[in-house]
């Protein structure tokens, strides 16, 4: 009874940490621009795939990881420069479709140039499972959770302590006001994309040793990351983390206790429930439209 539950909990928290990083990425971009970046999932995929390929090419793992994050960040910047910026002040529907287009393009390019095969990344510190109260925990899971916590702490320090971080928060609260005090909101948006891509990529890299990676993992990862962000409240950092972990755990518990075939449907049933009953999410703010 308990070992099973713990097992599901461990795997849930592990994948939940990745969802949390993806959700943070969504919230970052949403705060900077009101755009939901449907291409976020592809950044996650790019992280895992780049790292896998670089590692296979013989590059030492830590370097491969670093390069993969940089590659993803660069792609994120490109997407913002080439796809989002030219669209100017387009309608929400338009922007959604543009980011979907970007996601398709990225996925297609990876499929063409890197193939459709699944790849694995070597576990960071070995694969010997650790036994805890009858359940097994992979060392990689500890890496996922540990690095995620470190990243979140770093982000908190960044937003609270640096000028750029505070400028980003200001833009999130009131873009016009931020512009009026001299914040370059265009740069903030560009930076958000880069940072989100890096975060997503890191998440993808962390779980790649466990879940493997291929050209099409981006869709589901991205969508689930968005579900997590909405669950916690779009735009809220705390919400993103809470939403990610919650989603991961609920998904794992569903897979374990209800049906593993419908595991992938869980996030979407959750999102429908949330959107129907609590659209602002757990930590989001209720807003009224000014007429």
């Amino acid at each position: 009874m308990l070992p099973d539950f713990l097992q599901f909990l461990f795997s849930g928290v592990t994948v939940g940490a990745m969802y949390a990083l993806a959700a943070l990425g969504f919230s970052l971009i949403y705060n900077a621009s009101g755009v939901i970046n449907f291409a976020q999932g592809e950044f996650i995929m790019l992280g895992g795939m780049s790292a896998a390929f670089l590692a296979q090419a013989g590059i030492p793992l830590p370097l491969a990881i670093g390069l993969a994050v940089l590659i993803a960040a660069a792609v994120g910047l490109l997407v913002e420069k080439l796809a989002i910026e030219p669209a100017g002040n387009a309608e929400v529907v338009t922007l959604i479709i543009i980011t979907i287009g970007a996601s398709l393009t990225l996925r297609g390019l990876v499929q063409v140039f890197l193939g459709k095969a699944t790849h694995a990344l070597p576990a960071f510190s070995g694969e010997a499972p650790i036994a805890i109260l009858g359940a097994t925990l992979l060392p990689q899971s500890l890496w996922v959770i540990g690095v995620s916590v470190a990243l979140v702490a770093a982000l908190a320090a960044f937003f609270g302590g640096t000028r750029l971080g505070k400028a980003m928060l200001a833009t999130a609260h009131n873009k016009l006001a931020a512009q009026l005090v001299g914040v370059n909101t265009r740069f903030i948006l560009l930076f958000s994309f880069g940072l989100s891509a890096a975060l997503g990529a890191m998440g993808g890299i962390l779980v790649a040793p466990i879940t493997y990676t291929s050209y099409d993992v981006g869709i589901m990862m991205g969508l689930k990351g968005f579900v997590a962000a909405t669950l916690g409240g779009l735009g809220s950092g705390v919400g993103a983390i809470a939403g990610g972990l919650l989603l991961g755990v609920v998904e794992a518990l569903t897979a374990g206790y209800v049906s593993s075939a419908y595991k992938d449907a869980t996030p979407f049933v959750l999102i429908l429930l949330i959107l129907f009953f609590l659209p602002q999410g757990l930590f989001g703010k209720k807003t009224t439209d000014r007429v």
């Binding site: 939901i36 796809a83 030219p86 669209a87 387009a90 309608e91 929400v92 529907v93 338009t94 959604i96 479709i97 543009i98 979907i100 287009g101 970007a102 996601s103 398709l104 393009t105 990225l106 996925r107 297609g108 390019l109 499929q111 063409v112 459709k116 869709i219 969508l223 968005f226 579900v227 909405t230 779009l234 075939a261 419908y262 992938d264 449907a265 996030p267 979407f268 049933v269 999102i271 429908l272 959107l275 129907f276 659209p279 007429v291």
Partner: protein, 312 residues
């Protein structure tokens, strides 16, 4: 008496559809033409929802899938006549769309997109998982279509059927747009609050058009199932939903003829790219991005504007 541009367009469409068989060299081209007509009908329905009423649906393939699989399962496993199965599929889709419409359409923008996306994916997952009835990822075969015992088989018969259907769908869509109901829908897009103070029950209208476009997708799904003779879960998948949205967006939001053009281009595209596997996704993605950045109104409305400017 000067003819309205929409009447001109409709006549042109009828002429093209009637004359096309003379130009099509072989069965392959007939197949493409039939698929275009079917996609165009779905796209027109979707455009009424997205372009005219200003909503969004990223899960419409789910409704298409319900119709397709309902027809397939009811005829193959339960021996229902195809016409009845099609009606059953349409009714089931309508009921589902109605049930989720009110809560979903209260949402706006990203949330609405996400909700429709979620719905479509749930439907798609159900189809994949229930292998016993749907054949799962390997798919299932579908019997031929027949109305009151008369089979519709062969490219000629199918072409006539879908061509007539396309003309009907186009005409009713054009009628709708130029009616009080149609103006109410467009007003919802233009300014929902203005529509409301004018007395439009915006929620009811949004629900109605959502259900209508869903049922249309379902009916076309049923027909596709019978026409192709074989179904795979991909017809209800996310990529198909995106294809449908791309047809609307590329051809022109709030343009019935635009949807037909968009359907034509995007049905022919995979055929052209079939040799270049993987590039199909890239090209789709690029089309979506480039259209939305440079031609945000889509092809037909942009052309129409250019012509109008030249006349002035």
């Amino acid at each position: 008496m000067t003819m309205k541009p929409t009447t001109r367009g409709l006549i042109l469409l009828a002429v093209v559809l009637a004359a096309l068989p003379l130009a099509l060299p072989n069965a392959y081209y007939y197949d493409v033409a039939i698929r275009i007509a079917i996609n165009a009908c779905v796209a027109i329905g979707l455009n009424l929802l997205i372009g005219y009423t200003g909503q969004i649906s990223l899960g419409h393939a789910g409704f298409f899938g319900i119709g397709a699989y309902a027809s397939a399962i009811l005829t193959a496993h339960y021996g229902w006549p195809p016409g009845l199965a099609l009606l059953a599929g349409g009714t089931a889709t309508g009921a589902l769309a109605f049930a989720v419409a009110r809560p979903i359409l209260k949402l706006k923008g990203h949330y609405l997109a996400m909700a429709t996306l979620g719905l479509g994916i749930i439907l798609s997952i159900v189809i994949v998982n229930e292998t016993a009835i749907t054949g799962g990822p390997d798919g299932m075969s579908v019997d031929a279509f027949s109305v009151l015992g008369l089979p519709i088989a062969g490219d000629g018969a199918w072409y006539c059927a879908v061509a007539v259907l396309l003309i009907l769908v186009t005409k009713t869509a054009l009628n709708l747009i130029d009616s009080p109901a149609g103006r109410a829908l467009q007003a919802i897009h233009g300014s929902e609050i203005a529509a409301r103070v004018a007395g439009v029950d915006t929620t009811a209208f949004k629900v109605r058009i959502f259900v209508l476009s869903a049922v249309l997708a379902s009916v076309m799904g049923s027909l596709t199932a019978h026409y192709v003779g074989f179904l795979t879960p991909g017809v209800a998948g996310f990529f198909h939903s995106i294809e449908l949205v791309t047809m609307v967006v590329l051809g022109g939001m709030a343009s019935v003829f635009g949807s037909i053009l968009g359907a034509a281009v995007l049905t022919m595209l995979p055929q052209l790219l079939s040799a270049l596997e993987g590039w199909e996704t890239v090209v789709f993605g690029l089309i979506l991005m480039l259209t939305m950045i440079f031609l945000p109104r889509g092809i037909v409305p942009t052309l129409r504007l250019k012509l109008a400017k030249r006349e002035n």
